[in-house]
Subunit: 190 residues, 4 copies
Amino acid sequence: MQNPVEIEDLRVRRTRTTLQRALIELTVEKGFAAVTVRDICERAMVNRSTFYRHYIDKYDLLDQYAAEVGKLTTPAPSENDGLHTGPLQLLKHVQQFADFYRVMLGQNGDPLFTQRFRENIAERFRYLLSLQGAPTDPNTPPLEMRLNYIASAVVGAILWWLENDQPGMPEQMGIWLRQLNSAALGARPT
Amino acid sequence: MQNPVEIEDLRVRRTRTTLQRALIELTVEKGFAAVTVRDICERAMVNRSTFYRHYIDKYDLLDQYAAEVGKLTTPAPSENDGLHTGPLQLLKHVQQFADFYRVMLGQNGDPLFTQRFRENIAERFRYLLSLQGAPTDPNTPPLEMRLNYIASAVVGAILWWLENDQPGMPEQMGIWLRQLNSAALGARPT
Amino acid sequence: MQNPVEIEDLRVRRTRTTLQRALIELTVEKGFAAVTVRDICERAMVNRSTFYRHYIDKYDLLDQYAAEVGKLTTPAPSENDGLHTGPLQLLKHVQQFADFYRVMLGQNGDPLFTQRFRENIAERFRYLLSLQGAPTDPNTPPLEMRLNYIASAVVGAILWWLENDQPGMPEQMGIWLRQLNSAALGARPT
Amino acid sequence: MQNPVEIEDLRVRRTRTTLQRALIELTVEKGFAAVTVRDICERAMVNRSTFYRHYIDKYDLLDQYAAEVGKLTTPAPSENDGLHTGPLQLLKHVQQFADFYRVMLGQNGDPLFTQRFRENIAERFRYLLSLQGAPTDPNTPPLEMRLNYIASAVVGAILWWLENDQPGMPEQMGIWLRQLNSAALGARPT
DNA sequence: ACGTAAGCGAGACGGTACGTCGCGTCTTACC
DNA sequence: GGTAAGACGCGACGTACCGTCTCGCTTACGT
């Protein structure tokens, strides 16, 4: 029963979480690009010099926040059974931070964040696609192209889902996505 | 028989094109977000106050450039036979401005530009999808979701194509895209 | 029966007088320093490039206006009988352009204009003072100092007169001024 | 026993005095109107944004400087015996900042500054004039007119003194001024 | 009276200063 | 040691004037 490294100064924890919360709120309100370090600090009621003691800039703050949040998304290896439960977990996570993702992936978001999100999703498909083996059809596009194609598609669909107030539960969304993906993946519907 | 409206001041034309060119170059070099109006003016050897006489800010310059470029992309209605020649023209256009699109759609690009590009592509598919009529499978996702899915997919594939130095000619790319799309569109492979 | 050089192009005369009038109006309204060439041209409904065809800048316009106006002030040599009628003519002239002088000599005026006005007045006194001959009292200040002293005094009194809506007619003002001056000039009241 | 309020940040004091010094220098060199905030900052080796952290504009800087300097001029009430020691102190003060006053009161100066200086001097005479009681001569000009007359006269004499490299010591100047003033004030020479 | 040279309007352009804002660094004092 | 307070240098922003420069139109003048 440890918890060895994590015990940080209470003040530090408080400062960091307050700043993160402020970033999210402001990003939702005006878009990531329009948020300034000043904004964040005022909202968080934290002195600006304190911000710089913890983060390089707002991108760093976003990164660290995304990293913490990302841990929640990636299932522990043992319980990862691939395409089926993974996507549902991801959708539920996205739903939990719906406001944040809606902004970050949309026209006021950050392309780097979007790219990482897409890469994250692409990795989820890489294993699946590798199972298909060599393509039978000589016109089959390269693996990487298919990965980018489908990962972007999924991100686009998720963004649509978020921008339309999540019509349907994550479960419904998962079914829809699976149907579209299986077609694009060339899987024979069973 | 004169050219009625278009006869603009030569200096104006020169200034505007020079600024556009500078924007493109700099965007390719350091990403759109990092480009400043100062940069553009220095590169274009145009006084900064002259910039503001023509454009509101760099976004405006980008918009106007994209609008001009967009005219080239949209085929004349007469020769538009939908999915088949349209996409190839689009791919050739993208190839012509490969550097620019690679940056603008990527992690150093602009999410608003990317979104517009995606919407442009979505419109190209709307007609096709509307032909399919009511879905037979009750699990078929909503039309708009499928549009966003496929449009994002195509943008993702194009970005991959650009970031990997356009492996294959636009024709080859068009064939690959058509294959992936036809699957996602639910067309029965013939 | 001449008028040899003066006959200028009608358009030129119209432009120049309109610009002068505009300068005066605007100076009265917001003070000379706050008036811009743009203001003047808009008020005069004259194109800005036309302004520069006639004047170097607003100071030049002021100078030329003051020069024209100054001719009216300076009596022809023949009718100049010095201290007595001169001052009254000056006061009447100032009264005629009261708004203008009130602004130009005051806190929103122009120090150079004020200085020239003061020098103009000083010249009116120079002859008078020179008549006094060598001072009997060894403590008598230098002539130039006395000139500057009295010229500034008169300007100050005139400014007070203008800023208080000219209490008393120019004739009354002239009497007051003569009384104050005669004391300062060391003249024995007759 | 500390110095309660005055303990200001050393850097602030340094910045402010450096900026003031730069303003004076530049005003002497090219006249107040021609001095720009940029000039001041370059001369002071202070960043321009730092300037705006302390002053609204160059007029504000001048005002604050004049206010500080003005404290030195106004004698402590106890030692103020009116016309006699006051003027000498004032003249000595002007002599100390001769370059500055010569420019500010002259043709390249600032009319507002000049006006304030004149009002300052007028106040010094108000008490004296009020002692005279009702004028015996019905032609005596109004009190305010006489005040403006004499205050302007003194300013004009001081400016002459400065522009001619202060011929004579302040003591000599004081004697000259007193003689001229006593005449204008209507005092019977004793 | 009328052709023509001028005056003029329109406006692009390069400059320069303005005042504001956000950034990231630093120092000092407090707790 | 973490934080608040805030001065500072830096640099981009968008605006406002300035003075110069074509380029056509129109208009008053002189023959």
